[in-house]
Symmetry: C2
Subunit: 392 residues, 2 copies
């Protein structure tokens, strides 16, 4: 039986064919006018995709590299910072700031939940050099309220740099980066922009550039000032991942093409696409009796699903793979075995959601022994889609 491999992981996400072909064709040297034109075009597109007038830089690294840059460039050993954590990627901020000698105050939320804003208000101090937070906590699929956090920062600690890991938030969330005063927001290539891992991008505000001058933490490969200087000449400081940059340009062209060539509208459409697919998928899975792991603050990047007590989510992951070549994500850390995750960010369409739920109905019956009828999850997803289309 033919089974097409279908990634439903919240990164890497399914590749856009046009980007794959651009990547294959990217046979160029990086110190040439040809590359400089590509690089400048992609940087300009990224500003629109992020939705900012700030500088946007590209790093040849995973998203974690840009997270490190946002620590090493902005802080000095001993600096107090505030970290908001509600999952594995929040915990990565804690590890990172500690690795660079910062003194973090930490506000935590339980896995599957977002922060109590009263606790954030209590914890935030004007002396905090920076706030580190996720827009979307990929490990739990929770969306945090970046606008509310930015408002608190404006009120309590107006000099504090707000650093947002938007790795799965960008392209799945309607941000107003400049309006809210987000100083740094970080994205990754293997997420909503539909290309393989290997590139990170981040926007940097004037407030962040200013703060950077005072930071004494060591940095070399991730020195953002050097990248900014080189970017002005259409180059990267070090050898860039040329093929991925070509792919990224093709993907941003595609996203713009979804809205008649208007990348800003294309970005909005991409977020709405993720929202509709997330809503349809959730309705479908809930109709099969599954519980959402993060029902109170769900992001559109992915959906985390709890399996019934006594069952192992690893069995769902394995069965989806072996029977349907569907690749979902298991839970991370302590969530492993308890939840599985399926993505909606990037190159997913409604029929991908229908296919997933169709497959899950077989798994629910055969692997988990749940009492479900064929079509009952699909029908619930279809209703959500029909309503979303009717609203437009």
């Amino acid at each position: 039986m033919i089974r097409k491999t279908r990634l439903y992981t919240p990164g890497p996400t399914p590749l856009l064919p046009a980007a794959q072909f651009a990547m294959a064709a990217a046979d160029m040297h990086h110190r040439t006018p040809e590359f400089r034109a590509l690089f400048q075009k992609v940087l300009a597109q990224l500003k629109v995709f992020v939705g900012t007038k700030n500088d946007v830089l590209l790093l040849s690294s995973s998203g974690t590299g840009a997270m490190e840059a946002a620590v090493s460039n902005l802080t000095s050993p001993g600096d107090p910072v505030l970290v908001l954590t509600a999952g594995k990627f929040g915990e990565r901020w804690v590890s990172l700031v500690k690795a660079f000698g910062c003194k973090p105050d930490v506000v935590s939320a339980p896995y599957g939940e977002t922060f109590d804003m009263a606790e954030v208000r209590k914890a935030l101090k004007p002396s905090h050099k920076a706030i580190y937070v996720q827009a979307n906590e990929t490990s739990t699929t929770v969306r945090h309220d970046i606008q509310a956090i930015a408002k608190l920062r404006d009120e309590i600690a107006p000099e504090t740099i707000l650093v947002v890991d938007g790795i799965t938030g960008l392209g799945t969330t309607h941000f107003d980066v400049d309006g809210w005063g987000v100083d740094i927001i970080i994205g990754g290539s293997q997420k909503a922009v539909m290309i393989p891992p290997g590139l990170a991008y981040l926007s940097v505000s004037e407030r962040a550039w200013t703060a950077m001058e005072k930071s004494t933490n060591p940095r070399f490969y991730f020195d953002l000032r050097k990248e900014r200087k080189n970017a002005k000449n259409g180059e990267s400081a070090y050898t860039p991942a040329v093929a991925l940059i070509a792919a990224l340009g093709a993907a941003l062209d595609y996203i713009a093409g979804q809205a008649g060539g208007d990348l800003e509208k294309g970005r909005i459409a991409l977020v709405n696409n993720a929202e509709v697919n997330a809503a349809a998928t959730r309705a479908g899975l809930q109709a099969l009796g599954f519980k959402l792991f993060a029902p109170t603050a769900p992001g559109a990047a992915a959906t985390a699903v709890s399996v019934p007590e006594g069952m192992d989510s690893g069995d769902v992951v394995k069965a989806l793979k072996s029977r349907f070549a569907i690749v979902p994500a298991n839970g991370q850390g302590e969530m492993k075995g308890k939840i599985f995750r399926v993505a909606h960010l990037g190159f997913f369409d409604y029929l991908d959601s229908i296919a997933l739920i169709g497959a899950m109905e077989h798994i629910a019956k055969d692997t988990l022994g749940l009492k479900v009828e064929f079509g009952q999850g699909v029908a619930a997803a279809q209703k959500v889609f029909a309503e979303a289309v009717a609203k437009k």
Copy 2:
């Protein structure tokens, strides 16, 4: 909203990614050891895929080119031949044999049906140079009984060459080419072998090679004797479509890889895959109230679906395209507007069938105004799939 383009046409069919990449990489000259090795490998694979010990030749043309070769190489002006026609592609045989001056006796079946074998028996004469027939009439999706036709030939006209257009029959039908004595069977690249149009292949029996010596019809580009001679040296007579041949090799590797590297088993699995998807799709569409256009002799290559009286199948085709980026086929000729067709041959999997039926439920409601419940077609398809899996 993102909509992935999804071909459900019975050729071209969805491209296999591994074949796309092999095609992109095929930067070679065709008079080199490198190409000769590729060409000989692909010809050997094609013998297994066709299931024959006869010669198999590759032509850089569409399937119609190989159909012409099977007329021009085997007949002389004035030769009596038997043509069995039940649709647009049967009619193409009639046009072709007339173009080469043959005198066809024609047995027809109405669109949507296969032949009355008593009529074939009555029409067939030992003087017929050849019988021309489709294995699968793509315009109506009917499967003809090639084994029964071969038996009649053995009984009544043992010298008559049996020529089968297997363009959508190969990879969707369990043939015994040599056991049944099929002299020529023709395939096309854009069908079950998952690559773009541009290549045809055909197997040629010893009986056909012998008959070819007496034919006086003109042929040059499609001279099969020349191709056979060149193929023995690993070359084609004229410049071959190199990239498509590289793609075909990759696709046949993939089909073999589906059965642990055994291409014969892979071919059988591919046929069974089409059968299961055809059965699931038909159950799903019938559960929505659609009637099959060819219920009595359905092939697994595609399904032709009648729309209710007074409705236009073109509306279904347009709506599937505009709402879901699904590309089905309308009816051809007089069937246009009355039926639409969706394919199962080649690189289709079960989740493609589920996605199609999920989309058709929206179309049935919104475009055709039929009284259907969401999930009712999907559930019927799921039951068929579950039973097929349970049987294995």
